[in-house]
Amino acid sequence: MTTEPANPWLSWSYVQDNWADISEALGQHITLTVQAVLIALCLALPLAVLAHGRPRVAGTVLGIAGILYTIPSLALFAVLAPFTGIGRTTVLIGLVAYALLVLVRNILVGLEGVDPEVRDAARGLGYGRARMLLRVELPNALPSVIVGIRLATVTTVALVTIGVVVGYGGLGQLMYRGFNSSYRAEIVTATLLTLAIALAADLLVMLLGRLATPWARTGRAA
């Protein structure tokens, strides 16, 4: 306690000495994020497709999603913990719940935003319900879907840290440990790494989105 000045905000030696811990937390953070977004996407697509074209169902789904979204993450993890236990599953369920809301809303907006004339043209060409969805509506909704995935991913990266209350917070774990032992370098390193993951994930999804929508780059303005 006497070595007050030796508590810097940034310290390279901290990173070197604790690389094992850091890489483990980093791995946990990334796998939790990827799993949560993928699971949420698998659930959100059919939900949005189901709600699409049925205003009453869409209204209900979005209403429930809106209410769920107002529930604080800490409270959600806390309420889940007694039933699903302290650990990874609880965090994952909470993360999926939040990502789901963002994704359903964006996919739905994308599907509803498809130009009616495009839809009419496809119907005129004899497209049935399923083929219309797969060949016309979903590709047209793709830009909005990608925006949704980017939003959900970045939000999830930040949200993982709260998982610390049930023992699975990824880099949040390091932040809280650093806080409890007033080790500033640990808090700041974990924070910067969280931001880095968010940034990298955002760029990655954006690039994947560009690859998936080659038409958006060329003839959009025309």
């Binding site: 209410i67 107002t70 529930i71 604080p72 993450s73 800490l74 409270a75 959600l76 806390a78 309420v79 913990a81 007694p82 039933f83 939003l151 970045v154 939000t155 990266v157 930040a158 949200l159 840290t161 709260i162 610390v164 209350v165 049930v166 949040g172 932040m175 809280y176 650093g178 806080f179 007033s182 500033r184 808090i187 700041v188 974990a190 924070t191 969280t194 931001l195 968010a198 940034l199 955002d202």
Partner: protein, 228 residues
């Protein structure tokens, strides 16, 4: 521990009048929670509203608002809270209120900015053409038209803040958060569920009250405009 058991515990805890009264009772803690949230939103509004209105009026600052919105999504409030609590700001309510305020700035800023930006250029020209000064045009014409979006931003920010303030429980602060944190630490899961439900209810309640307030505050003609 069976599931019914925990719900029963939560129900019993919520039904115990002793848990509602006194300085550590639910009533007092809810009051503290709302007070902390109000201060956080106020700080954020004092910073973000004039800035957003001014930038929107001048039709500038698009990059700033986009950057603010994006970083806020990526930067964990939890990290900010711990960093604040590790400085001379200290433990307790103060770092929580500050972290929540930082978190609340982007929605207020972007909405105020968008609201002002979306005011019809012809309307602005008409106001100036009638001899209004820039300040009068902002106060009497542009602000009322931007009000629905500004109010929506404040609403989002408030609900987010109420949902964020429970993190105070992790740094020795007050409000409803400590019920959850203490419950987790002592493995009294009934209390954890009860605390979580209380916070969630408060969020839904705030959302409802504010949406009604927003409708009442929106000037009649603007409301009619939004419907058309």
């Amino acid at each position: 521990m069976s599931e019914g058991n925990i719900l029963e515990q939560a129900f019993r805890w919520l039904n115990d009048p002793l848990n509602w009264q006194g300085p550590d009772g639910i009533v007092a803690l809810t009051g503290e929670h709302l007070g902390m949230s109000a201060v956080a939103v106020l700080i954020a509004a004092v910073i973000a509203l004039p800035l957003g209105v001014w930038l929107g009026h001048r039709r500038r600052g698009g990059t700033l608002t986009v950057v603010a919105a994006n970083t806020s999504r990526a930067l964990p409030t939890f990290a900010l809270l711990l960093i604040f609590a590790s400085t001379s700001i200290g433990f307790g309510n103060r770092p929580t209120v500050l972290a929540a305020a930082v978190f609340a700035i982007p929605p207020i800023l972007t909405n105020a900015w968008t609201g002002m930006l979306e005011v019809d250029a012809d309307t602005r020209d008409a106001a100036r053409g009638m001899g209004m000064s820039a300040a009068r045009s902002v106060a009497l014409v542009e602000l009322p038209l931007a009000l629905p979006l500004i109010a929506a931003g404040l609403r989002t920010a408030t609900v987010q803040v109420i949902a964020t303030v429970p993190l105070a429980g992790l740094v020795g602060g007050g409000g409803l958060g400590p019920i959850i944190i203490t419950g987790l630490a002592t493995r009294r899961f009934g209390e954890v569920v009860a605390g979580g439900v209380l916070v969630a209810l408060l969020c839904v309640l705030a959302e409802t009250v504010l949406s009604i307030g927003q409708r009442l505050l929106t000037p009649g003609p603007v409301r009619a405009l939004a419907k058309a």
